[in-house]
């Protein structure tokens, strides 16, 4: 358990500045997710916290102590890599035990106990004698997580751990990571992903990054309900928030209107706007209707259950007034 504080942290590779002054506090025992589009610096930020990269300027504190130049192994962290980074020539057991065998004062029995405990948590005990190449992708990822657990870290770092798994396995592993966070009570976890669904489902708090700067930090619902920029509004939530400009926005005293698909209703008459159906998607539990109404991208309306609209139908729609987000020309919300 540790709290982590970043004070005006910057990182440059040669002339390219990737992290441009980040102030952030990760609380003890918190599950913090870094999310953002590719190239926003989220993985770099994680590597700075791990100590695998040096910070160019600023301060990094673990529990109030500056750790700028502390070696990764002395920070009390464990890291799970996107590519698993297992030692290919070692058995699963050795992969998990390797770090421990190098620590002084660890008896063999104690190491075995810790490895087996972690293996039981992840249900990989039957694979302990196998080599990584004899395992499937999902099993390898469990081994990588198991290796991290045996280190008994204060801080858990995940670098896009699910992006190499198929969709079904991704959901299952996501739930396991969430369970893991509950079981290992009070271990601080930092998780990097570009998938906002992972961020929303796992995080206590989400940190949205953009171009090496923190765009917004908050709980998933704070980001969903009160995004403090068009960028965050568009990034969080699925389907993506609809943005409507021009005269329609001016009628609401804004440059840009943001309204989520689930906050638009199709009405029989006297709708605020009207549009032509160009495409529908039926997912069973809910369905999406895509409307052409002169906006940059088609407007998505999310309906419960299935629907019977056809392309070419003209429909009237109304936004829920209390769910409309109004933004100014700079993309900031109008209070």
């Amino acid at each position: 358990m540790a709290s982590i504080e970043l004070r005006n942290v910057r990182k440059a590779f040669g002339a390219v500045e990737v992290i441009k002054g980040v102030d952030l506090e990760v609380r003890k025992g918190e599950f913090m997710v870094f999310v953002g589009p590719s190239g926003c610096g989220k993985s770099t930020l994680l590597r700075l916290i791990s100590g695998l990269e040096d910070i160019t300027s600023g301060e990094m504190l673990f529990d109030g102590k500056v750790v700028n130049s502390l070696a990764p192994s002395k920070r009390g962290i464990a890291m799970v890599f996107q590519s698993y980074a297992l030692y290919p020539h070692m058995s699963v057991y050795d992969n998990m035990a390797f770090g421990l065998t190098l620590e002084k004062g660890q008896s063999k029995d104690e190491i075995r106990r810790r490895v087996e405990k972690a293996a039981d948590m992840l249900q990989i005990r039957q694979y302990l004698d196998r080599l990584p190449k004899q395992l499937s992708g999902g099993q390898r990822q469990r081994v990588a997580i198991g290796r991290a657990i045996t280190r008994d870290p204060k801080v858990f770092l995940f670098d896009e751990p699910l992006s190499n798994l198929d969709a079904a396995l991704r959901v299952a592993t996501r739930i396991e990571i969430a369970k893991l966070h509950e079981e290992m009570n009070n271990v601080t976890m930092i998780y990097v992903t570009h998938d906002q669904v992972e961020a929303m489902t796992l995080a206590d708090r989400i940190c949205v990054l953009r171009d090496g700067l923190v765009e917004q930090v908050g709980t998933p619902m704070e980001l969903y309900e009160k995004p403090n920029s068009v960028f965050v509004a568009g990034f969080i939530g699925s389907p993506k928030m609809n943005f409507i400009g021009g005269e329609r926005a001016e009628a609401f005293n804004a440059e840009i209107l943001g309204i989520r698909g689930e906050h638009i209703t199709i009405v029989p008459e006297n709708g605020v706007w009207s549009g032509t159906v160009i495409h529908t998607e039926n997912l069973g539990a809910d369905s999406y209707v895509y409307l052409e109404m002169g906006t940059e991208e088609p407007v998505v309306v999310r309906l419960d259950g299935s629907n019977t609209y056809r392309s070419g139908d003209v429909v009237q729609i109304s936004p829920m007034n209390d769910k409309i987000h109004r933004f100014n020309a700079a993309g900031k919300p109008i209070a």
Binding site: P72, S73, I77, A78, S83, A85, H89, F98, G99, L102
Partner: protein, 325 residues
């Protein structure tokens, strides 16, 4: 790659070949054919001729009038009337066993040092630094120079009267008197070894470097987080993972070293301290008019190399497909 192609027919036969598979097997045979013909002409035929000659009393000026003599060139045991037993043939020739010993000694020390130095060079070249591309190219220069040229160059540098090494040694007070490095029996082998190691370390380094680059970088990051000391990282991670490439590199070099000829021929001609099997065979074949004996020595050299290779591949479980993962 070739082993894959060769394995395929066996698998296909077991399961009943599909038309596509038959087609692929046929194509594979056609692709292999030119190589098999070339090998048969440039390697198979000369080898068969050499082996045949080793069982005859052939002379260089009468290659087609040879008569079969069986194993006489290898070993001939005759008991005289006086009861004394006389051993004749290559296997009873002390010069031959001197050459065998020289060759083995040369191969062992040169490959050992080339492996150690090549590994160090490869590790340095695998690190990222400014100008790495130029250094990588530059390090290949000794390997690119023809052996005859570099051997002549070194023989001048090692010359007892005009050589720069003696001059340097004298000026720095390391030598009391000039040393005839290549001519003196005490130093001749060392001189040959130094030149060979200088010349071939880049080749070794390059092969090992290729193996090192197969190792994913993220493993080292995981090791850093595990707190594995760099020296332990080398012995517990790098070495096991580069081993397949290293084993192939070593066998290439040992085969090369066992048939060393040009360097010794130029650097230390006629020195019993460095004469190897190849040099001895060449002398007998073309200089001393002992074509049959030379053929016998060539055949023995071939058998020795073949035997070594088989044992090495068997014991070392060398995988020529390469790849650590």
């Amino acid at each position: 790659m070739t082993t894959e192609a060769l394995k395929m027919p066996a698998v296909a036969q077991r399961q009943g070949r599909s038309e596509l598979m038959q087609q692929r097997v046929r194509a594979a045979r056609w692709f292999l054919l030119p190589m098999m013909i070339a090998l048969a002409v440039v390697a198979g035929w000369p080898l068969a001729r050499s082996i045949y000659f080793s069982f005859t009393d052939v002379k260089l000026n009468n290659l087609y009038g040879a008569e079969w003599v069986g194993f006489a060139n290898y070993l001939q045991i005759r008991t005289l009337e006086s009861g004394r037993t006389i051993y004749r043939g290559v296997l009873a020739d002390p010069d031959w066993w001197n050459a065998v010993w020289n060759t083995v000694r040369f191969a062992f020390w040169s490959v050992l040092w080339e492996t150690i130095l090549g590994m160090i060079v490869a590790l340095v070249l695998n690190a990222e630094f400014r100008g790495r591309g130029i250094v990588r190219a530059a390090i290949l220069i000794p390997w690119a120079i023809p052996t005859i040229v570099s051997a002549r160059m070194w023989s001048w540098m090692l010359n007892d009267q005009f050589g720069i090494l003696n001059d340097l040694g004298m000026r720095l007070g390391l030598l009391a008197a000039p040393v005839a490095w290549t001519a003196s029996p005490d130093t001749a082998m060392t001189a040959v070894l130094v030149v060979d190691i200088w010349k071939t370390t880049p080749f070794m380094a390059l092969l090992i470097l290729a193996g090192l680059q197969m190792i994913p970088k993220d493993i080292y990051e995981a090791a850093n987080i595990d707190g594995v000391h760099p020296i332990k990282q080398f012995f517990r991670i790098t070495l096991p993972l580069v081993r397949p490439a290293l084993m192939v590199a070593i066998i290439f070099r040992v085969l090369d070293a066992l048939r060393i000829f040009d360097l010794i021929y130029v650097l230390t001609p006629n020195s019993a301290a460095t004469k190897t099997m190849s040099v001895l065979a060449q002398e007998n074949l073309f200089q001393f008019d002992n074509f049959a004996e030379g053929s016998t020595q060539s055949t023995l050299l071939f058998l020795l190399i073949a035997l070594f290779t088989i044992i090495y591949i068997w014991l070392g479980k060398v995988n020529f497909d390469g790849g650590a993962r």
